[in-house]
């Protein structure tokens, strides 16, 4: 999927996230949840996928899609947050709000997913 597609998907999710807070039966004060981030979609469960959204206090959203039943999704999201702060924010060549093209970030995420998948497959046996 091309970069523009990703941008479109991302902004669609961002709007849905905010609309869900508006449509919720119980509205939180200021639309902020207990962590100080915006209230909204945290998880979507469907037949073939589970989508989880992790929000930082600064309003950054990390969204991950996985097979249902994948363990440790929250751990993965937090580690990706750490990788983002390290490899993207400390890189002088990364422009804020732009698609992340930092090689270290890509390598880090690949290594993280590999590690998690290996741990999951060992756990299954």
């Amino acid at each position: 999927i091309g970069t523009n597609e990703w941008l479109r998907i991302g902004s669609t999710f961002h709007s849905l996230h905010a609309i869900a807070a508006e449509a919720a039966p119980r509205r939180l004060p200021g639309n902020k949840n207990s962590y100080g981030a915006d209230d909204g979609i945290e998880e979507i469960e469907a037949g073939g996928l589970v989508l989880r959204c992790f929000q930082t206090r600064t309003g950054m959203k990390f969204v991950i899609t996985a097979e249902p039943g994948t363990p440790d999704i929250d751990y993965v999201l937090r580690e990706i947050y750490v990788l983002y702060t390290d490899c993207a924010l400390k890189d002088p060549f990364y422009e804020l709000e732009m698609p992340i093209r930092c090689e270290l970030f890509a390598q880090g995420v690949d290594a993280l997913i590999e590690r998690v998948e290996k741990a999951a497959s060992i756990g299954k046996r």
Binding site: D91, P92, R101, E103, L104, Q107, G108, A111
Partner: protein, 222 residues
Amino acid sequence: NYSSLPPSTMNRAVASSANILDRPLGRGLRSSSTSEGFVSSSAFAYLYSELVQYHQSRVASISELERRLESAGYGVGLKVLELLAYRARESKRETRVMSILQFVSSAVWKSLFGKAADSLERSIDHADEFMIVDYEPITSTYVSVPADLGQLSVDAYISGIVAGVLDGAGFPARVTAHSVTIEEGENPKPPINQGLPPRKDKAVFLVKFSSEVLERDAALDR
């Protein structure tokens, strides 16, 4: 970077000043003789990233950016040399090429980065070239150079520091930073920051001495 105040004024300043600018950086010499105070590596990474971005917006080419980073480090080198020479309290200064290089790759590296340089090598093809190798330079721990900037090495700051130390000690040299791909199985050490993938490149600082330095060194041999 360390302030160049001698230790005695530093200690007096600690007791008397409430102004944060007058206090010594880190814990100074009072804590232990080996640890010179600690600075958060994230703080350094952010500050250095801003330095690179500042210069990048003002230059037109890669080599000019490297030159600006080198001149930023040059002043640090001069001051570090004076500070370390003072603290070492040795009465003799280095006059031989090999000993000044040893000084740079061990004492200077340890004082600035907390560990000695990973290796010091002599070039086979050129008698006036030496290489200091660092597998994890702190200036590029989190940096990913985009493909269109090709050969840029942000470690040019460190090569400026080395050039400053050598120039200040009387060994004028041209120092450049290069990223060299690490061969399979070359570096057994894991990255300092456990979350990051192992680095694919090492930093090699190529030191090319001026001809009069080597002539002088050869004359001292006789």
